[in-house]
């Protein structure tokens, strides 16, 4: 194929010309050149170029078929002239079209003969010319054309596009920076500091700041960069711009800060502002604001606003992340406290109860998921009597365990000189009442003094569970006074009990009586006494463990909400009646 004069930069009115061998194989490439020429110059739409393609393909095919010699060349020339595309397809020789050239053949199954019809239908004008030994088919088609492109304008557009690309690159890079900062910042303040310095030049902002919503709805300044961000605290019912953004959870674009009320912190003689709220899981967490001090740059661009919004989204995520971290830390603290409380409680319990000539005493403290303030203590007095204490401090965790420690110390220090249970509780109550009242806490406690010779005991009760005596008589003995810490002047009375052969005494905390079965039913006094009755055949050291196991069965091994402490006592020398 030989190109005669098809310079793509030439004037549109000049002829472009292709000379091609008279072979059908050359048709496709030639027509494609024509169509590309049209496309490059914005001439015609795709449909009209397709029409032209088809018409010229038919014209070239006809010309090749009309060739006289194999060496003949067919010429395709075209130009854009007067709003129309002029095309000439010529070949050596003469051709006189018949009258039916432009019509469809009579036989619809005929293999050819449709070229003339198609060309005439697709083009606006079709003419045959026989001149200088050549036949030329001249086609004309009016086509729309895009207005000529002004090179300066095209350059400016390209410049603008390049700048936009640069801004996009800058934005994407900033987003990477924000994401990296979000992942590596320990807290919101650090995130703000890291990102504000990046945002400020990109948004061409004078000042960037962030405020966080406080529990009372006020907005407190967290961090700022560049300039004066306004007051430290903005009240929720304030009429100023930022409070309104927070109330409505809707961003505010202020093209002219001078239009704001004079008392609004964002008011300025010139410049603009943009305030964007941010949330996490539907809850407003704060506002992010940017200001520009001058009017010269105009308002923020869409890209700059997008950047501020994105950073606001990141702030919301950071708030959520901080919440989760706080929750995790709280859970860790709670677990640690539980561990400490457990350690304290275990430390309070007697490691080993020494044998007593007249009494067998054995106790167990079964801890619940939340450690409470249960404890028991066994103390042998110089008189030979054995003091048994069981107590339950109101509350859970470390505070309860610490109070239990205080109680234990107080009881032990007074027991040296005071062996009577009632007097002991009265003294300890006086000592601890003020502290317990200031903490708004109280302690229930029961003290038993097992007589040195055996067979009888004296007890006093400060609001604690009744004493269960299994001797065939009245099971529950609930004489006693108020819990420790309720009344400074409470005087606790002591009651003496004589025990018969085979009698058992069971001390307990409310974790026993209030123990719930799988259906949520509490054990209660009747159930508690009945369950204890089942252990009468067991040796004393086995009783408490057997009862704890029975409770577990009763609850179908669901964990208990409260500690359960039990102390089983039996006299070795019962009083014979």
């Amino acid at each position: 194929m030989h190109r005669d004069a098809a310079d793509p930069t030439s004037e549109l009115t000049e002829w472009a010309c292709l000379s091609l061998p008279a072979e059908l194989a050359a048709v496709g490439a030639a027509v494609e050149q024509l169509c590309r020429w049209l496309q490059l110059r914005g001439i015609g739409d795709q449909a009209s170029r397709d029409d032209t393609n088809l018409a010229v393909t038919e014209a070239l095919t006809n010309a090749i078929r009309h060739k006289s010699n194999p060496s003949d060349r067919v010429r395709l020339a075209w130009r854009w002239h007067g709003g129309a595309l002029e095309i000439e397809v010529s070949e050596p020789g003469q051709f006189a079209p018949t009258q039916t050239w432009a019509q469809l053949p009579d036989d619809p199954l005929a293999e050819g003969g449709r070229g003339g019809f198609l060309i005439t239908q697709l083009m606006d004008a079709v003419e045959h010319h026989n001149e200088s030994g050549r036949h030329a088919l001249r086609l004309n088609k009016r086509l729309s054309c895009l207005p000529p492109v002004d090179p300066a304008e095209a350059e400016a557009t390209l410049d603008a596009m390049t700048e936009e690309l640069g801004n996009t690159y800058e934005t994407v890079s900033a987003l990477f920076h924000f994401a990296r900062s979000l992942a590596t910042s320990a807290d919101l303040r650090t995130l703000s500091e890291k990102t504000f310095e990046k945002l400020r030049p990109l948004a061409e902002a004078t000042t960037v700041w962030v405020r966080l919503v406080q529990p009372d709805g006020a907005l407190r300044l967290l961090a700022a960069a560049g300039g004066e961000p306004g007051p430290e605290l903005i009240l929720p019912d304030s009429e100023i711009c930022e409070a309104s953004v927070a109330r409505q959870v809707a961003e505010q674009t202020l093209a002219h800060r001078r239009e704001l009320a004079a008392d609004d912190p964002l008011h300025a003689a010139s410049g603009c502002a943009f305030v964007c709220p941010f949330s996490f899981e539907g809850h407003l967490r704060g506002v992010l604001g940017v200001t520009r001090d001058t009017d010269e740059e105009g308002f923020f661009t869409a890209g700059q606003l997008g950047l501020v919004r994105t950073l606001a989204d990141f702030m919301g995520i950071a708030c959520g992340s901080a919440d989760l971290q706080e929750q995790r830390q709280q859970a860790e603290r709670a677990a640690r406290e539980l561990e400490i409380a457990e350690q304290i409680q275990q430390a309070l319990l007697p490691k080993l109860i020494a044998p007593h000539p007249a009494w067998v005493v054995h106790g167990v403290c079964a801890q619940a998921a939340e450690v409470g303030g249960d404890f028991f203590d066994v103390l042998d007095l110089e008189s030979g009597a054995r003091l048994v204490v069981i107590a339950d401090v109101m509350g859970k965790g470390v505070p309860a365990a610490l109070l239990a420690t205080t109680l234990r110390t107080a009881l032990r220090s007074h027991a040296v000189s005071v062996g009577d249970p009632g007097r002991l509780l009265t003294l300890v109550n006086r000592q601890l009442s003020a502290d317990l009242q200031s903490l708004e806490m109280f302690i229930t406690a029961q003290v038993l003094s097992l007589e040195a010779g055996g067979g009888a005991l004296t007890y006093a009760n400060a609001g604690h569970c009744p004493l269960l005596v299994q001797d065939g008589g009245k099971p529950w003995h609930d004489e006693g006074g108020l819990p420790l810490g309720v009344n400074d002047d409470e005087v606790y009375a002591s009651t003496r009990l004589e025990l018969v052969a085979g009698a058992r005494v069971l001390l307990m905390t409310d974790g026993y009586l209030e123990h719930e079965d799988a259906a949520g039913r509490q054990l209660g006094f009747d159930g508690g006494a009945a369950l204890a009755q089942e252990t009468l055949g067991l040796a004393v050291p086995e009783v408490c463990a057997a009862l704890i196991t029975a409770l577990g069965r009763r609850a179908q091994n669901r964990s208990s909400r409260d500690d359960c402490t039990l102390v089983a006592i039996a006299p070795l020398n019962p009083i014979s009646k």
């Binding site: 390209l158 410049d159 596009m161 390049t162 700048e163 690309l165 640069g166 996009t168 690159y169 800058e170 994407v172 890079s173 900033a174 030049p201 990109l202």
Partner: protein, 124 residues
């Protein structure tokens, strides 16, 4: 006046780099391929070359390798651009004394700042 040679097969990217580096005050030259860059440098050395790694024909790394072997350009500061921050590529570039490695999309302001820093530090 210092001059910077931009080497990238992407016309639009060259345009972006040109616009970005205009801020440095240096004269900006362009080459659309590694071979064209070699020709440009043979005609006139550059104070800084910013070259894309991924180019048809000789890639950026190969060009830097050739230049490092040539005494005339062995010390020329080079900033490399790439579409992906492959560690292996970075270590190869570092071994060739590439001053900085920017991953597309890079922040034009950061690139301009780095280029200015290099040009300001260069004597003469």
């Amino acid at each position: 006046m210092k001059n910077v040679l931009i080497v990238d097969d992407d016309t639009f990217m060259r345009r972006l780099l040109q616009q970005t580096l205009n801020r440095t005050g240096a004269r900006i030259r362009q080459a659309g391929s590694g071979d064209a860059a070699l020709q440009e440098l043979a005609a006139e050395p550059a104070d800084l070359m910013i070259i894309d790694v991924n180019m048809p024909g000789r890639d950026g790394l190969e060009i830097v390798q050739l230049l490092r072997a040539d005494a005339a350009h062995a010390a020329m500061p080079v900033i490399m651009l790439t579409a992906g921050g492959l560690t292996e590529l970075r270590s190869k570039a570092a071994a060739l004394g590439v001053a900085e490695f920017f991953t597309k999309p890079f922040a034009p302001s950061a690139l301009a700042a780095k280029a200015k820093e290099i040009l300001d530090a260069k004597q003469g």
